[in-house]
C-alpha cells in the first residue's frame, strides 16, 4: 500500500486497528493493510493511484465514483475498503485493453457523450453493467439505468446516444466473434 495510509497506520498504531485485505483490481491482485474506516473510493484513488474513479458528493448521489464489484455497479464512496475483501473490482482504467478501447469508450467519444469528463468513468461503468445484462436496450432502459449518475455538462442526450452506439458496436463485435467461432 502506498504512502498516505501506511504512514497513518504506523504513526498512530496504538489504537488504530488494521485489517489485511485482498482485492483484485482490473485483474491484478493486491494484498493490503487498511484502516477499517477507509472508503473503497479512497483506497482506489490514493492507495492504488487509480485516479480515474472520481468523487463528487458526500451522499451516494452523483455516481462519479462508480466501479464494478464482481460486475455490479457500486458507488465506491459508500463502501468500505474492507468490504471489498475477496472481490473483483473493475475501474475505468480496466475498460480498455492495451491495444484497443472498449466499445463503450468509443461510443462516448464518437457521440460527444462527455464534456468536462468528470462523470464519465462512472457513466461508462454503469453503462457497461447495463450492456452486459441487456445488449439491446431501449432509450428508456438506458435512461433508467443511468439515473444514479449525475452529469452537469451534457444534458444526457449524447450520453444516451453513446450507450446505444456502444450497444450496437458490442453486438456487431459479438456477431463477428460468433462467426469466427463457427
Amino acid at each position: 500500500m502506498t504512502s498516505l495510509f501506511e504512514v497513518v497506520s504506523t504513526e498512530s498504531s496504538v489504537d488504530t486497528p488494521i485489517r489485511r485485505i485482498t482485492v483484485t483490481v482490473n485483474g491484478k491482485q493486491h494484498t493490503l493493510d487498511v484502516e477499517p474506516r477507509l472508503l473503497l473510493a479512497h483506497l482506489i484513488r490514493q492507495g492504488l493511484e487509480l485516479t480515474g474513479t472520481h468523487t463528487g458528493c458526500d451522499t451516494t448521489s452523483c455516481g462519479a465514483c462508480t466501479v464494478l464489484i464482481d460486475g455490479v455497479p457500486v458507488k465506491s464512496c459508500t463502501m468500505l475498503a474492507v468490504q471489498a475483501d475477496g472481490h473483483d473490482v473493475t475501474t475505468v482504467e480496466g475498460l480498455a485493453s492495451a491495444s484497443e478501447l472498449d466499445p463503450i469508450q468509443e461510443g462516448f467519444r464518437d457521440e460527444h457523450g462527455l464534456q468536462c469528463g468528470f462523470c464519465t468513468p462512472g457513466m461508462m461503468l454503469t453503462a457497461k453493467a447495463l450492456l452486459d445484462e441487456n445488449p439491446n436496450p431501449t432509450e428508456d432502459e438506458v435512461r433508467w439505468a443511468l439515473s444514479g449518475n449525475l452529469c452537469r455538462c451534457t444534458g444526457y442526450q449524447n450520453i444516451v446516444k453513446s450507450v446505444l452506439l456502444a450497444a450496437e458496436g458490442l453486438r456487431a463485435k459479438d456477431d463477428v466473434e460468433e462467426d469466427e467461432a463457427s
Binding site: 497513518v8 448521489s61 467519444r109 435512461r143 433508467w144 444534458g155
Partner: protein, 792 residues
C-alpha cells in the same frame, strides 16, 4: 491542390475531441488527482449558525490529535493581517471568521494534517463558543427598521444596502406610460440556485523554500486573475507565483471567485513549507461557494392595444449574502441586467436596482450566465407573455411584432447597448414550424374539452456575451481582453496557448480548428495548452461565454500575424515580391502561375533555416484581443408540456431550440453546449433550488435535498440552427455556452402557465414544483416561492 478545410479539421468540422482521449481512459488530471511528495491535507471547520458572535475557539484538543500539523483560526490570520481579503467586486470577505460568523457554512478554522481523515477528526475536536444573533434571510428583513447591520466590520456601513443603481430614462419612460393603452404588470422571484459542477473546489499550494516560488494547483476558471489577486493579497512577487488550473470537472461560474479555502491552503503551505491540499466536500461547496440568482424582479410594460411595446419599467432587489463577491467585471452594479428587452424594438425604459446583504452564503455569481442576463431574459420573456395574455394576442405574434428587424442593425437598445446582427423572426418561424405550432394549438383546445391541460411556451432572446471591451469591463482594474500565443515549429507543427481555461467546452479541440482555418495547418498538428500562468499568455479566463468571442478571436489574430510573416518568407522562397503572391488555405502561390507555390509547412521550415536577409528567424507570435463590442447571439426556445390537474406534476412533451450563435467552429461541440444548457434550464424551472429556513439554515446542502435532474427526468431536445455571422468577430462567431440556460427557463414556465390559462394565474415562481402548480390550479391564484419583497 486546394485543401478541404473540413478534412484538416478546420471551421465547421465535427472533429472528435482531443481531450476525450484521456478522459475516456480515466486519465484526466483534476486537482484531486495530483499528489505531491510530502503533501499534507487541509479541512475547513464551518459555522453551524448563520449569524453569531464568536466568543471563543478552543483548538487544544484538535492540536493533540496525532498527525495534526497546524490549526489555523481567524485570530492567527488577523495577526498577519490576512483575516480579510478583497473580493472581485470591491468588497471584503472574511478568510476565517474573527469577530462574527455571517452565514451558515462560513469558514471558522482550518486543520492541516497528515491525511484527510485525521484533518476531519480534528475539525470535530475544535470547540467554538457562539452567541447567536438575529438572522436576516431576505431583502425585506434586511431593509426593515432596526435590522441588525450585518457588515458592521465596515466603517461606513450603516445599513444592509450593498448598492443602489439605476439606468435608463426615467422621465421618458413615465411619459410613455402616461400615453399607453394598457399597462401590464409582473412581479416574481428568481430563486437561488447553485451551479454545482460535479467536481467541488480545491487547491494544492506548494511553497518551495529553496526558490521562494509558490505553485498552486487550483480549480479556477481564471488562473491569471488569481495570480494577480494572490500577488495583491499575500504580497508575494507576481513572478514567484504560478497558478495551474488542471482539468476542471465543470465550472459554470462556480469556479470564478476566490474562496477562503484557496487562501488558507496557500498560507498553510508557506508556514509549513510543505504542499497542502484542500478538497472541499459537496456540502461545503453547496453552502459556501458562489450561488446564482436570488433576486426579486418587478416591472411594468406600457403597451398599445395592437401589441406594440412602448416602454418598460423594472426594479430588482438582489440578495448578495454576507459578502458582495459576485465576481462580475462590468462597471454596472447589477451586471448586464439592463440587457433585458434587447431583442425588441422598445423606445424607452428605466431600471432601478438595489443589492442587499443577508445572512446567506455570498455570491450572485454568473451561473452559466453573463452576469444577470439570465434573470433579465427570464423577466423579459415572462413579461412578454403576461402582456400577450392581457391583450389577448398570440404569444408568437406579439414577439414578431416587436422584434428588431433584420435590416435595423446596428440597433441601440433602450438601455444603451448596441446590438449588431440577427434574424430573429426567422429563428422564431423555424421554431414554430418544428414544434408544429398551429397543430398544437388545436390539439390543446381538443385536450381541454377532455379535461387535459396542455401548454406551449416560447422564449426568444438575444444576450450580450464576451464580457469584454476594455472601456466598460475590468476585474480589479485589469481590462477584459484575452490572448493567444502561437509557435509554429520547423516541421510545421504548432503549439497554441491562450489565456482562457476550458472546463468541458473543448478548447483543445476547437482552438486548433481556428488555427487550421487561418493557416491550413491540420488541426491534428496543433496542440493546445491552457491554465498554467507560467506558460500561458495573460488572459482573463473562461466564463460569460467569453472564450470564443474574445480568446477565440485572439487565436484568429495571432494566426494572421503568423501568416503575414510566412507570406514574406514565401515571397523570398519563390523569389518574387510579396505583391506577386496569393494565399489559399495552407499555401502561397504565384499569381502568374498558380501551380508554383510553397506550403505553410515549407514556410515554417524556412523560418528556421532560410530567412530573407534582415528578417528575424522563427515563426511565433502572440495577440491580445480587445473586442470592439459584446457579441449578440440569439436563441428561440419552445416547449410543450402537459400538466396533470390531479397532482400538479407536469411533463415535457417537446423541446425545440433554434440557436443563432454566428459561425460554428465545431457544430458537434456547439450542440453539446446547447443541450447541456437546456438541461440546466429545465432543472432550474423544475426542481433545482437552494433555499433557507428562517434561521438561515441552508436547505439543499447536499444532492439528496438539492435536486439535480438525472437522465431519467431530463427531456430530449430537438436542435435547429440559423447562422448570422458576428460582424466584428474575426471568424464571425458569437459564443454559445450559456444561451440555452439563459433563455430556456422562461419557455418551460410560460408553457406551464399557458396550460393553466383561464384560471387567472399569472405567475408561479420557479421551481415549478408540483405542489405549487397544484395550489395555483386549485385555488386560482399566483404562487410565490418567497415572501413579497419591497425594499424601498
Amino acid at each position: 491542390m486546394t485543401i478541404d478545410e473540413v478534412k484538416i479539421g478546420g471551421l465547421g468540422a465535427r472533429r472528435s475531441r482531443v481531450e476525450d482521449n484521456r478522459f475516456i481512459r480515466g486519465m484526466g488530471n483534476y486537482v484531486d488527482d495530483i499528489t505531491l511528495p510530502g503533501m499534507l491535507h487541509m479541512e475547513i471547520l464551518r459555522s453551524p449558525l448563520a449569524h453569531a458572535r464568536i466568543k471563543s475557539i478552543d483548538t487544544s484538543a484538535a492540536m493533540a490529535i496525532p498527525g495534526v500539523q497546524l490549526v489555523l483560526t481567524g485570530e492567527l490570520l488577523a495577526s498577519r493581517n490576512l483575516a480579510w481579503m478583497p473580493t472581485l467586486s470591491y468588497d471584503t470577505q472574511a478568510v476565517l471568521a474573527t469577530d462574527k460568523v455571517r452565514f451558515q457554512g462560513q469558514e471558522v478554522a482550518c486543520v492541516v494534517a497528515d491525511d484527510p481523515y485525521i484533518a476531519k477528526d480534528a475539525c470535530e475536536a475544535i470547540v467554538v463558543d457562539y452567541e447567536a444573533l438575529p438572522v436576516i434571510v431576505n431583502p425585506t428583513q434586511a431593509m426593515a427598521d432596526g435590522a441588525p447591520i450585518i457588515r458592521d466590520d465596515k466603517e461606513n456601513q450603516h445599513d444592509n444596502v450593498v448598492f443602489d443603481w439605476e439606468v435608463g430614462d426615467k422621465d421618458g419612460t413615465d411619459r410613455a406610460f402616461a400615453a399607453a393603452d394598457v399597462v401590464s404588470e409582473l412581479e416574481l422571484h428568481y430563486p437561488r440556485s447553485h451551479p454545482s459542477p460535479i467536481e467541488t473546489c480545491g487547491s494544492i499550494a506548494d511553497f518551495d523554500r529553496a526558490t521562494s516560488k509558490l505553485t498552486v494547483y487550483m480549480t479556477t476558471q481564471a488562473p491569471h486573475i488569481i495570480r494577480a489577486a494572490v500577488a495583491m493579497v499575500a504580497e508575494l512577487p507576481e513572478h514567484m507565483i504560478r497558478i495551474v488550473s488542471p482539468d476542471l470537472g465543470g465550472g459554470f461560474g462556480n469556479k470564478v471567485p476566490i474562496y477562503p479555502g484557496y487562501v488558507v491552503s496557500i498560507l498553510a503551505s508557506i508556514l509549513l513549507e510543505r504542499p497542502v491540499k484542500w478538497i472541499e466536500d459537496k456540502t461545503g461547496n453547496l453552502i459556501s461557494t458562489g450561488f446564482g440568482r436570488d433576486i426579486y424582479l418587478r416591472g411594468q410594460m406600457a403597451l398599445r392595444n395592437d401589441g406594440k411595446i412602448l416602454a418598460v419599467r423594472m426594479h430588482t432587489d438582489s440578495d448578495h449574502g454576507a459578502f458582495f463577491s459576485d465576481a462580475q467585471p462590468s462597471k454596472f452594479k447589477i451586471g448586464l441586467m439592463h440587457s433585458a428587452f434587447a431583442c425588441y424594438d422598445i423606445p424607452v425604459a428605466h431600471l432601478t436596482a438595489r443589492g442587499v446583504y443577508t445572512n446567506k452564503a455570498p455570491g450572485g455569481v454568473a451561473y452559466r450566465c453573463s452576469f444577470r442576463i439570465t434573470e433579465a431574459m427570464f423577466f423579459q420573456e415572462r413579461m412578454v407573455q403576461v402582456a400577450a395574455d392581457d391583450l389577448g394576442i398570440d404569444q408568437a405574434e406579439i414577439r414578431r411584432l416587436n422584434f428588431v428587424q433584420d435590416d435595423d442593425f446596428p440597433h441601440r437598445t433602450p438601455f444603451g447597448f448596441l446590438t449588431d446582427s440577427g434574424q430573429y423572426a426567422k429563428c422564431l418561424d423555424i421554431g414554430l414550424e418544428a414544434i408544429g405550432y398551429e397543430d398544437f394549438l388545436k390539439q390543446k383546445e381538443e385536450a381541454r374539452k377532455n379535461g387535459r391541460l396542455l401548454g406551449i411556451g416560447i422564449s426568444t432572446m438575444t444576450e450580450p456575451l464576451g464580457a469584454g471591451n476594455s472601456r466598460e469591463y475590468d476585474i480589479l482594474g485589469i481590462k477584459m481582453f484575452d490572448s493567444a500565443e502561437l509557435r509554429v515549429h520547423m516541421t510545421g507543427k504548432a503549439i497554441l496557448r491562450t489565456g482562457a481555461k476550458t472546463q468541458g467546452q473543448g478548447h483543445e479541440t476547437t482552438w486548433a480548428q481556428i488555427v487550421a482555418h487561418e493557416l491550413g495547418i491540420p488541426a491534428d498538428d496543433v496542440v493546445v495548452e491552457e491554465g498554467d500562468t507560467d506558460t500561458a499568455p495573460f488572459g482573463m479566463g473562461t466564463y460569460a461565454s467569453r472564450s470564443t468571442p474574445v480568446a477565440g478571436a485572439a487565436v484568429s489574430m495571432v494566426s494572421r500575424k503568423i501568416r503575414a510573416k510566412a507570406r514574406k518568407i514565401a515571397a523570398h522562397l519563390l523569389e518574387v515580391s510579396e505583391e506577386d503572391i496569393e494565399w489559399e488555405l495552407g499555401r502561397f502561390y504565384l499569381r502568374s502561375s498558380p501551380e508554383s507555390g510553397v506550403t505553410i509547412q515549407e514556410c515554417a521550415t524556412a523560418a528556421y533555416s532560410n530567412v530573407p536577409d534582415g528578417m528575424e528567424p522563427g515563426l511565433e507570435n502572440n495577440a491580445y484581443y480587445d473586442p470592439p463590442n459584446l457579441t449578440w447571439p440569439f436563441g428561440c426556445y419552445i416547449t410543450t408540456v402537459e400538466v396533470d390537474p390531479l397532482t400538479g406534476v407536469w411533463d415535457v412533451l417537446n423541446v425545440v431550440a433554434v440557436d443563432d450563435c454566428g459561425v460554428r467552429i465545431n457544430p458537434m461541440i456547439v450542440e453539446g453546449q446547447i443541450m447541456g444548457g437546456l438541461a440546466e434550464a429545465y432543472a432550474i424551472a423544475n426542481m433545482q433550488l437552494i433555499t433557507f429556513d428562517s434561521e438561515g439554515n441552508c436547505v439543499g446542502s447536499n444532492y439528496m435535498d438539492y435536486l439535480l435532474p438525472t437522465a431519467w427526468e431530463t427531456p430530449g431536445f430537438e436542435l435547429h440552427e440559423v447562422v448570422t455571422p458576428c460582424p466584428h468577430h474575426p471568424i464571425g462567431a458569437k459564443g454559445v455556452g450559456e444561451c440555452a440556460t439563459v433563455g430556456g427557463p422562461a419557455a418551460f414556465v410560460n408553457a406551464v402557465l399557458d396550460a393553466l390559462k383561464g384560471t387567472g394565474v399569472r405567475n408561479i415562481d420557479m421551481p415549478l414544483l408540483p405542489d405549487r402548480v397544484y395550489e395555483a390550479l386549485t385555488e386560482g391564484h399566483d404562487v410565490s416561492g418567497a415572501p413579497p419583497t419591497r425594499t424601498g
